[in-house]
Symmetry: C2
Subunit: 194 residues, 2 copies
Amino acid sequence: MNYPKGIKKNNTSKSINITSFSNRGMSLEAEINLSNEYYLNNNIANIHKKPTPVVIVKVDYKSRKEAVINEAYFKVPSTTDYNGIYKGKYVDFEAKETKNKNYFPLANIHKHQIDHLKNIEYHNGISFLIIRFTLLNRTYLLESSKLSYFINNNDRKSIPLSYFEDNAFLIKDGYQPRIDYLKILDEIYFGGNV
Amino acid sequence: MNYPKGIKKNNTSKSINITSFSNRGMSLEAEINLSNEYYLNNNIANIHKKPTPVVIVKVDYKSRKEAVINEAYFKVPSTTDYNGIYKGKYVDFEAKETKNKNYFPLANIHKHQIDHLKNIEYHNGISFLIIRFTLLNRTYLLESSKLSYFINNNDRKSIPLSYFEDNAFLIKDGYQPRIDYLKILDEIYFGGNV
């Protein structure tokens, strides 16, 4: 179920178009990528999306310069999709969209990824989730400590919207950057200074 | 020229074998991956190799669970291969082997990657190269500041071995971890405490 999503994501990021800045339907991933580009170009932070993990099986060397991969498989990621550095601190997060209006299904995140976020916290990094409720047009930043707290204290397989409302930070839509999640980190970790 | 290497690297990491610990011919990448695994399992650091960047063009969905990538291409990496967190600090590096005995050809590292290492330094992260002279059986850690210094003050397209001898840190071979590069970071950045 995760694999088709992985591919869609990849295609989406390929088709980023400067003229589509005003497109409200842009995927969360595309918006985060643009925001990271903005952060990078303005010397604010250096945060990147990791490549989709694949196992490469067969490669055809048409020429010295062009190699074509003929057979490869998607691999379950052992870490999150995004990491980098902001104000000297290590930053690590996973981003997901959901079409549900009332809850975020935990099945959307691999167990490995949740463990990874916890481990980053242990090493004094900044780790979190960015979750978008597409139909509500709301994007939340949920610290990994709050994610762990929920998992440790609930048997539910999904996090209700109310938990986000009470424990996560709402990221306001912007123009540049589109998803200014570092502003939230300023509030949480850097005493609100920008 | 970089692409065939990328693939070889991938195959190598797939074939890591526990019984081959004593194999002196293990690739630098395999040894770094094992070292990172050791660091992770012993709660010392959380550092990973990024997946090989590919552009996925065609995917065949044989079943819901198994998707086969039928057409994909290697992408020039915009960042380095390894990053993560150590003692709360962001760590970022690229690792390369050379069969030359007297110099390391700068063509082995993409311009983007050199710029990336510099940018990490700007953001107060720890960035460096790990370079192995395979035939000499010597592995060096060269801080990115020393790499920049060389590039800014030389017209040469390769870094001579003597520059490594004078400016880089020799990483001793070990059993576990094989390539204890964090020990060098302790010396440089953390006052020698382990």
